[in-house]
Symmetry: C2
Amino acid sequence: MSNFDRDPILLTPGPLTTSLATKSAMLRDWGSWDSRFNAVTARVRERLTAIVNAEATHVCVPMQGSGTFSVEAAVNTIVPRDGHVLVLINGAYGRRMARLTEMMGRRLSTFETADDVPTTAADVARALDADASITHVGLIHCETSTGILNPLPEIAAAVATRGKSLIVDAMSSFGAIAIDAREVAFDALVAASGKCIEGPPGMGFVFVRRSVLERCAGNSTSLALDLYDQWAYMEKTTQWRYTPPTHVVVALDAALIQFEAQGGQPARLARYTANCETLVTGMGELGFRPFLDSHIQAPIIVTFHAPADSKYAFKEFYERVRDKGFILYPGKLTQLETFRVGCIGAIGPDEMRHAVNAVYDTLREMGIRQAAPAAVAAAIKAA
Amino acid sequence: MSNFDRDPILLTPGPLTTSLATKSAMLRDWGSWDSRFNAVTARVRERLTAIVNAEATHVCVPMQGSGTFSVEAAVNTIVPRDGHVLVLINGAYGRRMARLTEMMGRRLSTFETADDVPTTAADVARALDADASITHVGLIHCETSTGILNPLPEIAAAVATRGKSLIVDAMSSFGAIAIDAREVAFDALVAASGKCIEGPPGMGFVFVRRSVLERCAGNSTSLALDLYDQWAYMEKTTQWRYTPPTHVVVALDAALIQFEAQGGQPARLARYTANCETLVTGMGELGFRPFLDSHIQAPIIVTFHAPADSKYAFKEFYERVRDKGFILYPGKLTQLETFRVGCIGAIGPDEMRHAVNAVYDTLREMGIRQAAPAAVAAAIKAA
């Protein structure tokens, strides 16, 4: 890659590879007070809202910072000071939502399953029925720690039936997995610019039910992360409350235009699904085994078991694959040695196939003959 | 401007006009986990720290979001839960620091002077001597609401003598006005990417005294805005804790390279001073009067009184000047009608002169014969 000063393909779940059209939009400077920039902001908010069919019920509130800033803003704005949040955990992002909820002083309960076990609607129903003081439920739609997809529609129904409020971290699913606000009840759903819309990182956004947000003044203990204040100011002035990341906003606008031209969410899901299948099939042929069963695997990011071969070391493996032009992602499991490969970004099955080939070449260079994880390798040896 | 699809010159205090070299750096995608990107982050932190000669005493902690996010992070991280912050106010940014301090639940006192009156070291000494429970002092170095410069070195000495901790919002002064950490005692000093270093907006950074930061674990009530956690993670891993705005970071790196090549802070101050003088002289010839006395005017942004002429209306004036290629900035004073013109960004005296000419043409188009404010116009009429 470095020989010809070419960008690597990012097989990471955001930042990811963006198109040249998206990056080129950043070659302009915009006045953040100017009506032309504010028209871009308005257009971006409208386009984002349309993706989840939430025009009639929710408002889109953009927020500076990474996706986590928007998750924290959602919890701090939506949950009253005396609220009680149940956070559903099966990975690092669930744990993060729990931690930020606790740090801001809201009452917290958690329900945790193993990293490879989706939370079910029955789990949520049981937890809510056991503690009537719970007011809000926090859910990670696709846990990027592993790539597991939690059943949002079913969980949303269980929460709504019990009159509770749902906050969804849809960071890595929004734009790729179908979410329809007319059918799935949520009070807040959070995502970010640098994920499946394929913009650059630097801002998040929260779809908040308008009737809920209107009652949220004074909840937040943070000025910068107060979604109500951000929304009220934007409604009044059309401007962002504090300096927006102007270049990121216009690049997200460009990315949304391409998103729509390419066929919107269904087309994006189809491309990512093809990416994921190409990856899993190709890696499978090399002996790699995915961590998750295929029926709970979102086509966003795939966790693979590390090879059992003693010649394997992630750092060398990573660097050799990178030098061939592909950036892999480390694992996030504490108990098992794994690595991750993202399927999202401005890439298609061709790039995934090239990546698999680069992994193949790397295994040969490292003298790794067995890419299967320990258990599989043992079974093969025994056979 | 729109005829030839050319960018306007931003006479705004951030976002501002950036160079093509800076914007071009955003034409690449970077993996936020990759060592090559982390080397950029490390280089940016080092270069920023060198600008205030703080290598021996302070660490530079970058933070996602606008400058306000970094101000809030500084207060929330540096001030213990039972701390008591005295915020010095002579404009909107001082009021903002007071508000965020109060919202996060820290005890707040304020000392306020008029928008055109700098806070003095004697004011601060008196306030601190009157209330021994104050632990921290918050100061805005250059108040962008008007462009007034507060005497940082003298105030810092008054605070240090009394054994208190100083938090400085140096958003619009850092990189242009000399600040030397070896001579000026501060525990935290905050600035952002899209100001006098002339990068794109999207991240801030805080120089925190290392010996202070080491004791700040557990202070913050916000996870996203916890500078201690951000710093500790970065020290351990070389990475940002949560997704960084990669394109903004590499553009800031490019801007810093240009900053140094152009002669660093002294050269930047000289250019902005020439910009400011060209502006004030040229606008003065048209009859415009600055709001501030020249000895308290920082060469960052100039507030002008609106013309007394009844044909003047800011919206039309702004749009006509914009259509000639220059983006002005509205006033931020509630009592007086004013507008502001920024002197910072990748622009020189030529651009300032062109802007003055565009203002002249606009006055003629609008039939405004008297650009002086009401008091001056009355005096001329009486003479």
